[in-house]
Symmetry: D2
Subunit: 144 residues, 4 copies
Amino acid sequence: MAAPPSDVYSRIEASFRKQTVMTTLGAELVLAEQGRVSIRLAYRDDLTQQNGYLHAGIVSTIADSACGYAALSALPQGHEVLTVEYKINLLSPAKGTAFRADACVIRSGKTLSVCRAEVFAEQDGNETAIAAMTATIFAVAERS
Amino acid sequence: MAAPPSDVYSRIEASFRKQTVMTTLGAELVLAEQGRVSIRLAYRDDLTQQNGYLHAGIVSTIADSACGYAALSALPQGHEVLTVEYKINLLSPAKGTAFRADACVIRSGKTLSVCRAEVFAEQDGNETAIAAMTATIFAVAERS
Amino acid sequence: MAAPPSDVYSRIEASFRKQTVMTTLGAELVLAEQGRVSIRLAYRDDLTQQNGYLHAGIVSTIADSACGYAALSALPQGHEVLTVEYKINLLSPAKGTAFRADACVIRSGKTLSVCRAEVFAEQDGNETAIAAMTATIFAVAERS
Amino acid sequence: MAAPPSDVYSRIEASFRKQTVMTTLGAELVLAEQGRVSIRLAYRDDLTQQNGYLHAGIVSTIADSACGYAALSALPQGHEVLTVEYKINLLSPAKGTAFRADACVIRSGKTLSVCRAEVFAEQDGNETAIAAMTATIFAVAERS
């Protein structure tokens, strides 16, 4: 990418790199702009449930981080976020060569934000929605 | 253990072993009896979020499997389970040397079961409840 | 309306009229087409919580029915629906002269459908999103 | 009741009386002590869904208030509560002569509390669990 990444992207990426689980799973931050964040994960057969599909907890892991970072992207600098709770509906088996969680903010508040994520499975150039999450995110001012 | 494992335990364990993500994370099936299943995971610093706590998605991974297997444990043989949806509240930071998800069935149905899990962090001989999940589980007859 | 109502509208309305709580609350079915249903409720000061806002349970009542009917609208004739579970985030105080729950289907299945609703408060010609729901709906073939 | 009601009960009851919807539905506060609140509602055929069962939204209304008041009961005086979100699983049809929502606190925090409620249907001296709720409650200091 020739152009320098936006401030939003840099802030999100700095936190993303501290989430060691993202490296362990091989997840990538593919989009981070004001109010919208996407995280992508390639299929790995060591992350599955009993039928060979990506485990719902791993689907949740990328969707939860995408929601948290979407909330963070809409807050002023100097904040951190924590997930209060989330709910995920598994719409279809998590079957594909890669998975992408697209999150957006539906309410941005000083203390609480609400975000939604949809997770898509990619296969043979097609995308299928496999999960829908709603998350409540708590904002905390960073200790400096 | 001198006594042979119960039928319930054997059935659950057989499926648990097929969940490759459990091996990848180092999770163990520590209890599986009629209506109750517990899964335990030792802390690993490659499974954390940005503050060094276990990532909520990983907490969910063991809680979701515990819920699914609790539902399975209450069904007649020859069934498999799929998670329809779950909701998790993160009660405290996932800080500890190990984590245990204890799930139980609150409704067992032919098609749909509802399970609850609590996740505890273990540290210095103490246990703290860090998360509470409610999950809806779908039962499918195994193809033979 | 000069044009005759669609089949979908007639089917939904027939069931809506059997929901006695809708009449009791004064809720109206304002839209019912394939995959989308809206229900509207005028503010009443006998339906509030302690601050004079519409009670979250009443907000849920119209959103839940809108979700159920959105699911029903996407099923073949001869089905009924039951709510398995729902989750609602209250985004802002339910303050307004009227409220409208707009639901749509995000997964339509033979047994289970997943719907989303957003609830808007109307005041002085403006609309504010006050709640977001995700619901899992069970389809049952009507006994004839 | 010969003994004077506890402080907790008085505080909760004062707020309960301001919830006009409780009077409209005919709901009663039947228990309010530190960390535990129960609300009861007699069956009424003008509060049903299409099959004559109590509408899930009305079940939610008493469960949500019970959760909010359970959270309030565990806070120091001078606070009010608002529901952030809740999730309810409908376990069985809401069929009975009366319904009781029993809520308890599972996490009490300065800003956020988490409560659970179970709703029971009463019929012929038996009780059936018909719903399970988890709610996140926000505490605000009352303006004086």
